[in-house]
C-alpha cells in the first residue's frame, strides 16, 4: 500500500505542481527530474515560481483544453445538431477556422453595411452568385458570422447534396436544399437565410458576362419572405468573379459527368490540380438596406405581379450596388 501511495504522490507532484505535503517544488528541472528546492506557498520554488506563473494560465493550456474537449465530444458523439443537420460544434471549431485564412489573407474581404444585417429575427440575404465554384457563398456565410455572430443558413442547389462528402459537409455546416419548405421553416424559426437566386446561371457564367446579374429564378425567395414577413437584405459581392475566370463551358463533358457545367479557366484543366487554386482578387461585400416585407401579407405572396415587381426591385438594387462598388474599385487585385 505504501508503494502505491508514493507513486500517486509523484504523479500528483509532476502534474499539478503544488506538492505542499513534501514541501518541495512541483516543477521539473532540465534533466527531467523533480526539482528538489523548497516550495513557496504557490507550490513552486523561488526559481520556478515565475516560470510557472507565466506558463500556468497560458493560452496554450486553454487551447489544449478546448481542443481535447472537442475531440472527446467527436469521439463520443456528444454534440447537438438541429433538424436540418446543422452541427455548430464542427462548423465553428473546424470548418470556419479553415476558411478564415482565405477570407482574411487571400481575398482580404472588406465588408460594408454590416449594420443592415438584422441582429435578431429572421431575414433573407439575397446575393449575386459568381466564381465557378460557389466560394462566394461560403465567404458570405463566414463574413456574416464574424460580423454579427449569427449563422446565415444558405440555400443550395440539389447537386452538392447528391455528392458524397460535399453533401454531408453542406448539411453539417447548416445549409439546406433551396426549396420553399426548408426556406419557410428556417425563416419561421427566426434564422438568417442566404439565397443566390441566379443559381447555376450565375456561378457558371462566362468571364465576359461578369457582374451582369442573370435571371432571378421564379421569385420563390420573395414569396417565402412575404409569407414569413422576413426583411430582404440585398448583398453585392465584388471580386468573386475573378477567382476562376470561366473562359469556356464544355457542355458535352458536363453532360457526360452529370455536372451543371464543365469549366475551362486559364489554369484549369491546363495545370491540373494546381488550376484549382483561386486567383487572389480583392473582394468587397456590400450589405444593402433591408427591404421590409412586414406590412405586406400572404395575399401579396399569391399575387404574381407583385412578386415579380418585388423580385425586380431586389435584383435592381443588387445590380446598382455592384456597379457602384465596381466604380470605386482600384483594381482587381488591389
Amino acid at each position: 500500500m505504501g508503494d502505491a501511495e508514493v507513486i500517486r504522490m509523484e504523479r500528483h507532484r509532476a502534474e499539478r505542481g503544488p506538492a505542499s505535503a513534501a514541501g518541495r517544488c512541483g516543477a521539473r528541472t532540465t534533466e527531467g527530474r523533480l526539482c528538489r528546492n523548497r516550495a513557496r506557498p504557490s507550490g513552486y520554488c523561488a526559481r520556478h515560481e515565475e516560470v510557472t506563473a507565466s506558463a500556468e494560465p497560458s493560452a496554450f493550456e486553454a487551447d489544449l483544453e478546448r481542443v481535447l474537449a472537442f475531440l472527446r465530444r467527436r469521439l463520443t458523439g456528444d454534440y447537438p445538431i438541429d433538424d436540418f443537420g446543422f452541427d455548430r460544434d464542427l462548423t465553428e471549431n473546424v470548418l470556419m477556422p479553415m476558411l478564415r485564412p482565405l477570407y482574411e489573407r487571400w481575398w482580404r474581404i472588406e465588408q460594408r453595411g454590416v449594420e443592415n444585417i438584422p441582429t435578431a429575427g429572421p431575414a433573407l440575404l439575397v446575393a449575386n452568385h459568381s466564381g465557378t465554384l460557389p466560394l462566394d457563398a461560403l465567404m458570405m456565410r463566414l463574413g456574416v458570422f464574424d460580423a454579427t455572430g449569427r449563422h446565415c443558413r444558405l440555400l443550395a442547389a440539389d447537386f452538392p447534396f447528391r455528392l458524397p462528402f460535399v453533401g454531408q459537409l453542406a448539411r453539417k455546416s447548416g445549409n439546406t436544399l433551396a426549396c420553399n419548405e426548408d426556406a419557410t421553416r428556417l425563416l419561421k424559426g427566426g434564422e438568417l437565410v442566404g439565397v443566390f437566386p441566379e443559381g447555376y446561371k450565375g456561378v457558371g457564367k462566362l468571364f465576359r458576362d461578369r457582374y451582369k446579374l442573370q435571371r432571378f429564378g421564379r421569385g420563390g425567395f420573395v414569396e417565402v419572405a412575404l409569407k414569413t414577413g422576413a426583411p430582404i437584405v440585398p448583398v453585392a459581392i465584388v471580386g468573386a468573379e475573378e477567382i476562376y475566370p470561366l473562359l469556356h463551358n464544355v457542355k458535352p463533358l458536363a453532360r457526360l459527368l452529370g455536372f451543371p457545367y464543365f469549366p475551362v479557366t486559364p489554369t484549369f484543366p491546363l495545370l491540373g490540380p494546381l488550376g484549382l487554386i483561386p486567383l487572389p482578387s480583392k473582394w468587397t461585400m456590400v450589405f444593402g438596406e433591408p427591404i421590409e416585407t412586414e406590412g405586406l401579407t400572404a395575399a401579396a405572396a399569391s399575387d404574381p405581379m407583385f412578386v415579380f415587381n418585388l423580385t425586380d426591385q431586389v435584383r435592381e438594387s443588387i445590380q446598382q450596388s455592384l456597379y457602384r462598388t465596381l466604380m470605386s474599385r482600384r483594381g482587381v487585385f488591389a
Binding site: D83, D158, L177, E181
Partner: protein, 352 residues
Amino acid sequence: MAKQRVLITGISRHLGGRLAQRLEQDPDVGDIYGVDFDPPSHELNRTEFVRADIRNPLIVKVLQATEVDTVVHAAVIATPGGAGGRAQMKEINVIGTMQLLAACQKAEKLRKVVMKSTTTVYGSEPTDPAVFTEDMGPQSQPKTGYAKDAWEVENYARSFGRRRPDVALTLLRFANFIGPRIQTPLTRYLSLPIVPTAFGYDPRMQLIHEDDAVEVLYRAVREDHPGTFNAAGDGVVYLSQLIRMGGKVPAPIMTPFFGVTSSLVRRTGLVDFSPEQIGFLLYGRVGDTERLKTQFGYTPKFTTKEAVRDFLATRKLPKVFSELQAEQWERELYAFLARRRRQSRVQALEGN
C-alpha cells in the same frame, strides 16, 4: 356507455403485444382481440387470441363475430426476412391490408381504425426537404420494398376513410423504433461491433422509443385523433453520432460496393436490410412532429438521443471504447501535454 372493444392485428409482434398489454390495464377497455398467424409472445391476460390470416376473406367473419368498434392495424411488416421472402411480405402487407379494410367496410359497429405506418413513406433522396410534414408525400413514388408497401397501404387506408366517413381514421407515421426490447433492422445494425456505413455519407436519423410508440398507439385508440401524424422523439442525430455513442467503430464502404456489402451482411442473417433502406443510410429522413405535439397532444418522453441511450444502456452491447474511457484519455492527454509544455518552458528558462 358500452366499453370499447378493440381488435389488434399483428399481436405476436412486439408493438402489437405491448399495446394489448397497455389496453388490458385500462378498465374502460372491454374485450381485446389479437389477430395473427403466430400466438402472442407477450404475457396477455384478458386478450383473446384469434389465429387468423388477414389475407383470408374469413377476416370479415372475425370482425362481425367480435363486434369490435376499433381496429388497430399493426401487422404491416418492414423486412422480408421475417415474412419468408419479399413476395410473401408484399402479400401480407398489401393484400392483407386490402382484405382487412374490405372487412372493416362491412363492419357496421366499427367507429375507429388506427394504422401503424412509417416515415419510410417519405422516401430518402438528396432532393428531399430537410423536414417532412404530414401533408407531403414521397418525392418520387417508391418503386420497391417496404416503402412501396407502406405507401400503398396508406393509400388503401385513405380510400377506405373516404368510403366510410363515419369511421375515424388515424394514420401514425412512426420513425424508426429503438428501445430496450424491440428488434428491428436498425437495432440489429447498431448492435454490430463494426458498423458498415456509406463512405462520404452521413444520414440524419430520427428515432422513437418503443414506450412512446406504444403510448401513441394507446392514445390513438382511447382518444379521438383522426388524421395523419408523424411520431418521433425530439431531435435528430447523425448516423456517425449513433455509432460513436455506442462506442463502436464505423467501417466506411465506397458506395458502389455498399449495395453488395449490405446484401452480403443480409445473407449472414445478422442484419435484415432491404435494398430500399440503403437510401435511408445515404440521406436519412426527418419528419416534423409539431402536429403530434399540438393536435394529438402527446410529446414523446424520450428524445431521439435519450432513446438511443436507453437502448445502449439496457442491451449491454460490446463497446470498442466507453464514454468514461474517452474522458480518461482526455484527462491523461491533457496532463501529459501540459506537463511537457511546462517542462520545456522550465528548460528554456534554465538554459538562459
